[in-house]
Symmetry: C2
Subunit: 142 residues, 2 copies
DNA sequence: CGAATTTATCTCCACGTCAAGATAAGTAAT
DNA sequence: ATTACTTATCTTGACGTGGAGATAAATTCG
């Protein structure tokens, strides 16, 4: 078994692409892009938040998150509001339509990921999670 | 330990991003984009190949791979040539400069990945490779 | 208080990607 | 040989992203 860092990286990349492909198929079918889905998901699970806070959570730069919120606002899935404690900030919240959409889409997404990872037993998935978490953490620290 | 498919997907995503961040830093410092690096790497290890064959290997559509080869040709890192057995095809090969660059860049890349995955022991990396390979393969099959 | 710095957001532009369609060359079938 | 189909590549237009810089508000410090 190959244990070089390069090999691990390649295998990780391929696994990522395979899962991402599944994820994208479902998300695309709802008429959303990957980033827009991530933004809605953050809003659903963390509640309203300022633009750049969301950007950091989903790894988008200031320009990109502005564009993403613009897209979602154009579709009436989110709304910008004023932050009473900071007049620079614009707080983003889900609209009714946005909440309905992401709740449904998220359920589908979870089911799709469950199916896509079905090739591994529960024990294997647990082991994979532990290893990947450790790998990600240590890589981020360097 | 969480063993849902969704959780595994999220952890995989984060680990991927952490490693990709390392990879991109090194590749960018050579003046290349991620895809262009992948194209050169294919040419280095598999030898000259037609445009679309390369595109499939690095997962780029016909339009994208054309643009990538254009960029590399503009920098004189690769050259297009005729395929004697198929006049539609354009065979891409490394130039001297291209070979020198990718050989050097690839060594650096391998070293960077070695360092980035250093948080895992050899045994852990072997286990991770086995799990990720299985995961990727089964996800691709569905 | 006023000046300098930081923070939050937005605008603008360049880049890489994809999708769809165009062109040209090879292949198969009648 | 003609027709239809497939394959290899390129072109065009739209989209999402990042980076640099602009603006405005908040914060820090003398």
């Amino acid at each position: 078994m190959e244990t070089t860092g390069l090999h691990l990286w390649l295998v990780l990349w391929k696994a990522y692409q395979a899962l991402r492909c599944h994820a994208e198929r479902h998300i695309h079918s709802v008429g959303l892009g990957f980033s827009d889905f991530a933004v809605l998901e953050v809003l659903l699970h963390k509640g309203p938040a300022p633009v750049n806070t969301i950007g950091e959570l989903v790894h988008l730069t200031s320009g990109s998150i502005t564009a993403a919120i613009d897209r979602l606002e154009r579709k009436s899935l989110v709304a910008r509001g004023a932050d009473p404690s900071d007049r620079r900030a614009r707080v983003v919240r889900l609209t009714e339509a946005g909440r309905a959409l992401i709740e449904c889409a998220f359920r589908d997404h979870a089911a799709a990921m469950e199916a896509a990872t079905g090739g591994l037993s529960a024990a294997e998935r647990g082991a994979a999670v532990a290893l990947l978490r450790k790998l990600g953490r240590s890589a981020r620290e360097r």
